[in-house]
Symmetry: C2
Amino acid sequence: MKQVRKPLADSPAVHDQVYDSIRQALITGRIAPGKGVSLRTLAAELGVSPMPVRDAVRRLVAERALAINPANKRLSVPSLTADRLEQLSLARLWVEPELAARAATRVDAGLIRQLQAIDAEVDEALRLGDVDRYMTANHAFHFALYERAGADVLLSMAGGLWLQIGPFMRVVFGRVGADGLVADRHAEAIEALKVKDADGARRAIAADLSEGMDKMRAAVGTDA
Amino acid sequence: MKQVRKPLADSPAVHDQVYDSIRQALITGRIAPGKGVSLRTLAAELGVSPMPVRDAVRRLVAERALAINPANKRLSVPSLTADRLEQLSLARLWVEPELAARAATRVDAGLIRQLQAIDAEVDEALRLGDVDRYMTANHAFHFALYERAGADVLLSMAGGLWLQIGPFMRVVFGRVGADGLVADRHAEAIEALKVKDADGARRAIAADLSEGMDKMRAAVGTDA
DNA sequence: CGGCGCGAACTGTGATCACAATCGTCCGGA
DNA sequence: TCCGGACGATTGTGATCACAGTTCGCGCCG
């Protein structure tokens, strides 16, 4: 299986595609916390050489979405601890409402429609109890909003935090089942955005996060 | 120059050493913002193959300490913009005082002594107008304190932010000269730590950052 | 039949090579 | 003198190999 040719001209770099694949798997929690992964295995699954996987993994380790055992240098998904959850919650509760507030001053009708469409998708997934789809749609909702803030530094911080907390959300919701997926504050946020109410958007997102984190905290406290 | 042997058993990985080298160069501002860098050049300077440099660079790019031109994919140190500075300031003003406050509840006499020693180094560098040494010592002071907070998620956030703002500090201080390096709030912070005054430590660090950032803001506003 | 040791397979790391794309420079023509 | 095109040098990316450490399983011995 020797492949020397690389006819891809300006197509997206392979390691970026690999990064997105793993990232998505982590955000939606398809890879369980504590689970070990390996470069060659991932490479084989994705049908590429270990090289771009190595690049992607380095990036994910830097973002703390993957951990590396200092003893044997093996890769794994970080385990959730109550302490880590607390820090991540605190950080998210600072950055994300800030992004929402900034975005509120720049919304337009198109974004409102887009958010409403995504939120419908969220509700649909919620109704069906489709955890995977819920995860993806919920992520899409938040970041469609945050991107509008035009604050790339803060946005990347939020992305990194979400990446770290993704696997745990899956564990929690997977454990409590679809019942754990109750109403969110998305509609409330959209209402605030419609009138460009920055403070209202900030509060709505803060409440949304806060409630989600409370559920996770409770679930983690029980056994993790 | 063929080297196949790798007799190093458990010595620190090469790519980590390379990472530290580049990181230090960035924090102390030895690499100017906007300046381009290349894998092979860095590798040659550090006397290693391009491979570990590639790993280190990936990590730094993930931490936004290095930027990658999406068009030609070439590497460079990110340029400072007023907008970026504002976001970084905001984020630092949230995380770092928080870390200081947490650390305050866990200080002991040893840490106090250590901080006093580092602060003396800072003052010495300040007196001599040695920007490089000042940078290093100032960084050491803050992180010796922050590490004590025992909050690794927040600590890594602070590390990432410092890494992003490092090159700019150098430019600013290099421009205004040693005169720009006036008194800091380190002594004030140490006093608060002595009595485990978390809120005092928070305020002292916040003031320290705030004043430093104001200088940078002013310097950036003039020309950048 | 139970435990233990040795070897095979798998792990991350680093080096080297191949390749396409880009940058920079120099030279020729108008 | 100035502009443009071509060619060489340099860049990042990906593949493959080499190597050392670890892990795991199978077979042999007690």
